[in-house]
Symmetry: C2
Subunit: 304 residues, 2 copies
């Protein structure tokens, strides 16, 4: 392309996004002169768009409020950051699973106790991991697990085969999956149907070397049953980025059980967001300039 | 294949290996009747081999002692388990890097401190990782990192391009790599040339958000300089499966610095080995029966 693309960043210009936009062929302008708007705010103060704006990049993953407010129109392209967030959360899920299998928290707490730690270390390599919920997060996790030498059994609503999964099972048959996997990652939306999808029966069916990872919502796991299962040795451990209730009270046993790792809902950290989001915005600007399909396109009436 | 392959497991039959061999089309026999020997012992009590043995599978990665004792001959195939160990150590390196970036040890120590942890969480996604040493471990790590959305700059002796690396730099130019990467994983052999390859100058050249991971040998890192760099904020942290000296004394500051994760040389755990090694042996037996090339073949005079 010979000319720069005029891009507005609002409501305030952010240094990381600005640098990425410039590097990707954008030129920073006010909204009145813009062809692209990178909107870093919420829906309340969303501006009236000039007709010349052909693409609006929203920084959020869940954009129900924008849809409900009638902001998303069909006169231009709209993108959110759901793909970016999915990659980020999938990475955290892998980090939690590996930390558990490799007994990193035990080493952090107990020091150089090779006699105790060495026999307890396990590999994800050669294992089968069940992923409950094959939306963006689950689908981002699959290639990571496969590169680590694991097989994946995916569980989704329809049972429609998921790329990269050895097998896909519909949610109404999830009960048959627990005994067929070594470990399980929960990445499904929170609904009436998924509440306590990991319950006492599921935990009893999992193998005793199993790790349970939850990066979705705390309510998908029966936390009392999970504590019982870890304490009794029915499963090897759990690694949770979400809890029920959340935040947990300081005396919640979930925070004090050595076999359970808890991170404070940081799979998709809200701080420092624009720094990590910037390369994603740049990639989409390159695609926009080349006329290629944009990542994470949103359409009017879309539901997440 | 219509008939089972006669396989001896010695000096003692191991249940995990036996189950894997049977599942892969083997039939357990004494050495006198064997076509394949899975040898789980050392070199001292290695038996005289019947001519009918066409393949010997050793369970070790480093087999210098077998070579020095003249045990490895050219009358049959020999394999070791270097590929298996490389996968295992690469997995541990990824686990350490992700645990550091995702601040899992901080969460383990400090509990649900979202205000402190959220701003500190980083992603390997979108980063560039330098791998110093592109032998089996380094080459096993590359596809894992790429699946996580990272780029790799490899450093090896020759500078000959390594598959999957964005760029390969010869070891004598390693100094130029430090400022070009976000994080670095040390996976090179311990030699006079690699001693303290991560020294004060290297640490000063790395970006302040860098994590240093060492799964090779403790002597490759100048540990005093590393402590200084972490304490001063010159780098973000270090995650070490090996130390200098090893084991560290209980009062070694390396064990008590919050920005440093230490696991007790368990990247390739010696306990429970046959359980995790079994699928690897099974895969090689399937290849043997199909006439395919075996994994981790060893030849007389090989050097590791």
């Amino acid at each position: 392309m010979s000319t720069d693309t005029p891009v507005a960043i609002a409501p305030e210009v952010d240094e990381h996004i600005a640098a990425a936009v410039t590097a990707a062929g954008g030129r920073l302008v006010d909204l009145d002169d813009a062809e692209v708007l990178v909107w870093l705010g919420g829906n309340d103060d969303f501006p009236t768009l000039p007709d010349a704006v052909r693409w609006v990049a929203l920084r959020l993953a869940g954009i129900e409020a924008f849809i409900d407010a009638g902001i998303i129109d069909d006169r231009r392209q709209w993108t959110n950051a759901s793909g970016f967030y999915a990659e980020n959360v999938a990475e955290h899920a892998l980090a939690l699973l590996l930390a558990g299998l490799r007994r990193i928290p035990v080493a952090v707490r107990d020091g150089w106790d090779k006699g105790a730690i060495d026999p307890a270390v396990r590999s994800v390599h050669g294992s089968t991991v069940g992923i409950v919920g094959a939306g963006g997060i689950g689908r981002s996790l699959i290639p990571r697990l496969r590169a680590c030498g694991a097989q994946v059994i995916a569980v989704n609503h329809s049972g429609r085969p998921v790329d990269g999964a050895e097998r896909t099972v519909p949610a109404d048959r999830v009960a048959e999956v627990w005994s067929q996997v070594d470990h399980v990652v929960i990445a499904a939306p929170s609904t009436a149907q998924t509440r306590h999808i990991v319950d006492a029966d599921a935990l009893a069916a999992l193998p005793s070397h199993a790790w349970v990872v939850n990066v979705a919502r705390g309510t998908l796991v029966d936390q009392a049953a999970l504590l019982d299962a870890v304490r009794s040795g029915a499963i090897a451990g759990a690694a949770l980025d979400v809890t029920d209730p959340e935040p947990p009270t300081p005396d919640d046993p979930i925070l004090h059980e050595p076999g359970i790792i808890v991170t404070p809902h940081v799979a998709n950290p809200s701080s420092g967001l624009t720094r990590t989001l910037a390369p994603w915005i740049a990639e989409n600007l390159r695609r926009f300039r080349a006329g290629d399909e944009l990542l994470s396109t949103v359409r009017p009436g879309s539901r997440w």
